[in-house]
């Protein structure tokens, strides 16, 4: 036994989060050397702000991935639906009630999806179908018009900068730390990780697999709700075609963060770092005046490169 253990120990292991940090550092150095405007402190805040809302959803998505449910394809459509609902509810009952009810509805949508996932057993098909339904409902409820809200509280939530940092970035940072804390220190967090690591062993150990899926879906829904509420608050309006085509951005952030799609590994912090890394790269390319096509190509290649790298580092290749 001892020899086999020893040979395993010889393998040098760096925590996964570190790769994201290293990549960010390398990019930072390269960027600040080549682009004068990049290295300024305010630009770093700008990058974090740019990563914030995508990052919050990516953090939610990481719960789905870590719990072993791959990813959801319904996030952007749910975002539109929740944005529309938040605007309607705020207009009808005021900001506080709108906020609470929207979060409640978000959790409800998450639970509905988790129930279907447990029934059908396949998160991707399920969320694909739910995504279409959510988008349709968003259009239905919005009545094809722009829904405006007038609320000082909402405006504050959308545009204020406590201590000079935008509320969105606060939300992002808090969400990242909180969700990391939940995964790391909460009982349910540990259950999520274990269920993702080996669902059969989780069942055999008496863990609550159904509950884990429900929590993961609810976490994503809450992330989506925060994005929707923040966006609606910032511009005091909602439309049914919000966030169209964003789904793969969220997933890309999770993947670039190095969270294994097989589940059971990684932390929400990695998804947050992935979102920052992509935003950093985008910012760098934007300031260099690269065309949209080139930017998109490079982001795609980054996704391919990072997932391949993580995969090879885990020794899973052939």
């Amino acid at each position: 036994m001892t020899s086999q253990d020893a040979s395993q120990r010889a393998k040098f292991t760096i925590p996964k989060t570190a790769y994201g940090l290293i990549a960010i550092l390398v990019l930072l150095v390269v960027a600040s050397v080549t682009t004068p405007s990049f290295a300024r402190v305010d630009n770093i805040f700008v990058v974090i702000r740019a990563a914030s809302l995508t990052g919050i959803v990516a953090i939610g998505m990481s719960y789905i991935t870590i719990s072993g449910n791959l990813f959801a394809l319904s996030a952007s459509a749910l975002g539109a639906l929740l944005a529309v609902l938040f605007a309607l509810l705020t207009a009808a009952f005021g900001f506080a009630a709108g906020l609470v009810l929207t979060l409640g509805l978000a959790v409800f949508c998450g639970l509905a999806q988790s129930l279907a996932i447990s029934l059908i057993g396949n998160p991707i098909i399920t969320t694909l179908a739910f995504g279409t339904v959510f988008r349709g409902l968003a259009a239905l409820f919005s009545g094809n018009s722009i829904l405006r809200i007038e609320s000082e509280a909402a405006l504050w939530l959308g545009t204020a900068r406590p201590l000079g940092i935008p509320t969105q970035s606060w939300a992002f940072i808090i969400a990242a730390l909180l969700s990391w804390f939940v995964i790391r220190h909460f009982k349910i967090g540990r259950e999520i990780v274990l269920c993702g690591a080996n669902p059969k062993a989780a069942v055999a150990s008496g863990l609550r697999v159904g509950l884990v899926t429900a929590i993961a879906c609810a976490a994503l829904s809450i992330g989506v709700a925060i994005m929707a509420i923040m966006t609606v608050s910032q511009f005091s309006q909602a439309k049914a075609d919000l966030f169209m085509g964003y789904d793969f951005d969220y997933i890309a952030a999770v993947l670039v963060g190095g969270i294994a799609l097989r589940g059971g590994k990684g932390t929400p912090l990695q998804a947050a770092l992935g979102a920052v890394l992509i935003a950093l790269l985008q910012n760098f390319m934007l300031l260099h005046g690269l065309s949209a096509g080139v930017r998109m190509t490079i982001v795609g290649l980054l996704v391919i490169a990072s997932i391949s790298l993580f995969h090879i580092l885990q020794g899973r290749g052939r």
Binding site: S37, F38, R40, D42, N43, V46, V47, R49, A50, L53, A112, V133, R135, A138, A139, L140, S142, G143, N144, S145, I146, R148, T159, R161, P166, T231, Q234, F235, S236, Q237, K239, A240, D241, L242, F243, M244, N283, L286, L287, G289, S291, A292, G293
Partner: protein, 350 residues
């Protein structure tokens, strides 16, 4: 459960459709092809077309494709195959160039075809009866004029600036940028053209919030192609310690859903581009053709009179452009602004 609800909804919807089809015997049906009413501007377009059609005594059918040109192509084929006799078509392609084939097919049916919103591609004149809708070059030009005017009034030195444009590959973005750049040639210096990921505030904010701080002190103006993007840019400017309308001049050039930045003076002014009137005038053009039976060559920039919409008796030109009356950036100016009997508030804040 969910299924039952949606089924019930579907059933009631179908019943509704049948009901509307039932009293369709007046002057025939007009079929309108549009991308999708998920976009509120298109929702307004539909509304305008519907109200005008009702006034003229036509029945109307709107076919939506959810931003998918190949879907729209097949809808055209489907419609043509139905053998329905229609009074005419209103054609708003999702991808202008890609839709030419369908446009041609519509024209071959013999019914009049009014193209709207997307300025027709040169060489396709034989495939459509008349164009009735917005002019993106004009929109860019109007925006340029508003901007130059604002700079002159504030006695500020406007030179370097950037265009935040519609997503790469969107032709309306190309046209507006061209119209704008033509109009500012020799007067302003365009240092950057950056495409956004979409047409809405959040997408505009993402780009503006990165460009503005990076080029702080350099940019004196921004052209954003619509007011949603402009409002987001104004917010980004303020967050970077720039006062819009003083340190930096921002213009969207087409009102798009939210006018508060215009009213507050943050945006250098706007122009009414009304989806409602665009749909309305497309329908009017069709009605004119049915009554008058002819199209006058040339362009007609419909007059942007405040009170009454243009008369149905006016001649129909090959190109009929929706006016883009400029609106100054104050509450008073905004309240006073009207187009064809509807206030700017009604037309812009749909």
């Amino acid at each position: 459960m969910k299924l039952r609800i949606s089924m019930t909804l579907a059933a009631s919807m179908l019943a509704g459709l049948m009901a509307t089809a039932a009293y369709a015997d007046s002057k025939g049906t007009v079929v309108v092809f549009v991308p999708s009413s998920t976009n509120p501007y298109i929702g307004q377009f539909q509304l305008g077309a519907k109200e005008k059609a009702a006034e003229l005594g036509y029945d109307i059918k709107v076919i939506e494709n959810n931003f998918n040109q190949s879907e729209q192509d097949s809808q055209v084929q489907q419609q043509l195959a139905s053998g329905e006799t229609v009074a005419g078509y209103i054609w708003w392609p999702f991808e202008n160039a890609a839709g030419v084939g369908s446009l041609r097919a519509l024209s071959q049916s013999g019914a009049p075809v009014i193209v709207s919103n997307q300025y027709p591609i040169k060489g396709t004149e034989a495939y459509w009866t008349a164009y009735a809708g917005a002019n993106d070059f004009l929109s860019g030009k109007t925006a340029a004029e508003i901007l130059l005017d604002a700079c002159a009034k504030a006695d500020a030195k406007c030179d370097k600036g950037a265009i935040i444009r519609f997503p790469a590959g969107v032709s309306a973005g190309d046209d507006r940028a061209t119209g704008f750049e033509d109009a500012v040639k020799g007067k302003l210096d365009v240092v950057d053209v950056v495409p956004t990921a979409g047409f809405l505030e959040d997408e505009g904010y993402k780009v503006a919030a990165q460009i503005i701080p990076a080029r702080k002190g350099e940019l004196t103006w921004l052209y954003t192609q619509n007011d949603s993007l402009a409002g987001a840019a104004a917010q980004a400017a303020r967050e970077n310690g720039l006062t819009p309308g003083k340190d930096i001049f921002i213009v969207g050039g087409t009102c798009h859903g939210d006018s508060k930045h215009v009213k507050s003076g943050e945006i250098a002014g706007t122009a009414i581009q009304s989806g409602y009137w665009e749909g309305w005038m497309a329908m009017q053009a069709l009605g004119k053709f049915v009554v008058q039976g002819k199209v006058v060559d040339g362009e007609s920039y419909l007059e942007g009179t405040p009170d009454a919409p243009p008369s149905d008796a006016d001649p129909l030109y090959k190109y009929n452009f929706l006016p883009n009356p400029a609106v100054a950036n104050s509450q008073a100016a905004y309240d006073a602004a009207k187009l064809w009997g509807k206030t700017a508030d009604q037309l812009c804040n749909f």
